[in-house]
Symmetry: C3
Subunit: 232 residues, 3 copies
């Protein structure tokens, strides 16, 4: 199973679960991933696959209580797999073999990228796909033409105030909303909030709270209604 | 020779041959490279240098009959060198030493990128040059001002239907044709075709057939006419 | 100290010195870095921190007299630290820990990127931040809102004539000046000059001379006036 991530995802498609791709790129807010997963643990029918960029993985190495290792997170409820960039190339590809970023797109009902770094944002809007996460995003079925249903990507940007206020970042956020967002779009932004940041600066750029993110996931997946009253 | 790729290319400039740079980026269609090379083997006066991105190299590791290793391909007729990103930095550069991506641009009559991945397409139109292939493309003498003759880059895009249909990819293809293509341009696109893709999806996005690609190369290099009737 | 670069930078903020970030990306003109540093050695109150991209580091390995190793350069007057991409991740980050590219932005009075490669230029204008240098640039306090004073980034582009003349590069230079330059901007370009280039081509694209660069730094930092007559 661990030997062929793409085949594993393909098989999971028929497991009767609701499939969420939770992704993190290299912001300090990656340390909220455990909270998000635990916040979703009351939904027994949810399957979570976690994708981390190499930068994001730096934040989850077990260096503090609130920063468990990936091995620890793998044992959390609902977590069915954790992927890094290497996962795409685990098995030398031959004709007919499934491709991880394609199988992810087919299997998943929703992608949530929290945090979305300034860098991964820039790669999204310009079409650079040099990581598993950026490849999955560009392979998205943006209008439902390929898989028959239109599915969403939610993003929660998170960065230092100066990086957030930089006109280059603002231009990329504008491109995100113009090219991929809006009524016909497939990307929805969970706005940043204003607070004291990890870097000591104060201001706009902090990621939406994990509670907001959990609520947004539940809303999109119709989980809250279905499982409310659930005591797991 | 293998110790100084840039010098090797500089020397080959006077070997009386027609020089083709065949490049592949990280699409499944990289497995058509052997067919393209064999399809050109009837032209004895052709010298082929192959450039692979690191992703493309994954597809040619000898994992199947149709996917020979790079060592195997090196022994095919007309193949005079195979370069990967490391080739640029093999020798610590000192003043006066030749530079691989510059020597390639000077020596080559034509570059054919087949397949062109969504990622390398994005890097081309945005000017990102973090690989030997993308550096060679940006160092191209786009109007013949530097080397005295205007030379072309042919590209054969290849990707999953959803990736191809994504508005971000379509925007990059439009930029490619607007900024680098057209009558005054230096890049020509060999359109994708519609068929069952390696990933199981059906639709637009597949690379032009290798026969089409071979014919396009022969046409641009004036090979078909010159060598027709050749019995090699 | 070497164990926590971000903390080291934070502490240096109160050392009473003028702080310059000197950065080099992967152009041959990186070999002018030693000249620039020596050209500034008559200013005893100047602290220089050097940032190199991985490509730039290839040019300073001690392979020639004019290309000393980084260890040699570390011992030059005024050089207080040398950073590469790994420097950001030396210590596993935990809440409250300083972040190198943020501390650099806070501590520095001026950034000078010489040479600025075509690739790092493209990443700057598109917001790609996959290196310490590009992260520092995007985290810049572009209008002084965050740190209370507006500070400049000077860039000295350097590339092969064909790469420089390429419409894609010209488009990126235009974006640089439109988006980040001008009277309200925070980036100033030191124009390339025309001469015989390291690659054998002749034409526009060479980096401004190191004397020009040293003079520009002195001017921006108000050093020339203050230290003129100084006999160090
Ligand atoms: C300690 C630390 C904290 C960082 N925090 C952020 C952040 O909050 N937001 C952001 O956009 N980048 C942040 N960065 C910079 C990114 O990690 C860097 O741009 C990286 O290349 C992003 O890669 P990715 O988008 O592939 O994950 C941080 C870097 C470090 C070293
Ligand atoms: C098995 C496999 C097949 C892939 N096929 C394609 C493809 O056909 N087209 C494409 O644009 N990307 C494809 N990708 C994604 C690219 O390999 C990825 O975006 C990579 O970073 C491209 O790098 P390059 O442009 O430097 O070669 C594939 C990835 C994998 C793992
Ligand atoms: C010997 C050599 C010399 C190079 N000189 C230049 C140059 O002068 N300008 C440039 O833009 N790129 C030049 N390049 C290409 C860059 O090194 C390459 O695009 C690299 O990815 C830049 O990375 P960076 O921007 O992260 O430093 C050179 C490459 C080599 C191998």
């Amino acid at each position: 199973m661990a030997n062929n991530p793409a085949q594993d995802v393909a098989q999971a498609r028929s497991d009767g679960k609701v499939h969420l791709l939770l992704a993190a790129s290299g912001s300090v807010a990656t340390i909220k991933i455990p909270n998000i997963i635990r916040g979703l643990s009351r939904h027994p029918n949810l399957s979570i696959r976690l994708v981390l960029t190499s930068s994001a993985a730096h934040f989850l190495q077990g260096q503090a209580d609130e920063q468990p290792s990936l091995a620890d997170i793998r044992s959390y409820p609902n977590v069915d797999a954790i992927y890094t960039d290497e996962s795409e190339w685990v098995q030398p590809w031959t004709r007919g073999a499934p491709i991880l970023h394609i199988e992810l797109r087919k299997s998943l009902t929703l992608v949530l990228i929290a945090p979305l770094s300034a860098n991964t944002l820039a790669k999204m809007v310009h079409g650079i796909t040099d990581s598993l996460l950026s490849s999955t995003i560009l392979a998205w079925d943006t209008d439902g033409f390929v898989d028959g249903k239109k599915k969403k990507i939610l993003v929660a940007t998170a960065m230092n105030t100066a990086m957030f206020r930089n006109p280059i970042t603002q231009r990329n956020l504008k491109l995100l909303n113009e090219l991929m967002g809006g009524a016909d779009g497939w990307v929805e932004e969970l706005q940043t909030i204003s607070k004291g940041l990890a870097c000591g600066d104060v201001g706009q750029g902090a990621m939406a709270t994990w509670e907001t993110i959990v609520a947004a996931i539940e809303d999109k997946l119709g989980l809250a209604a279905k499982d409310s009253g659930d005591d797991e």
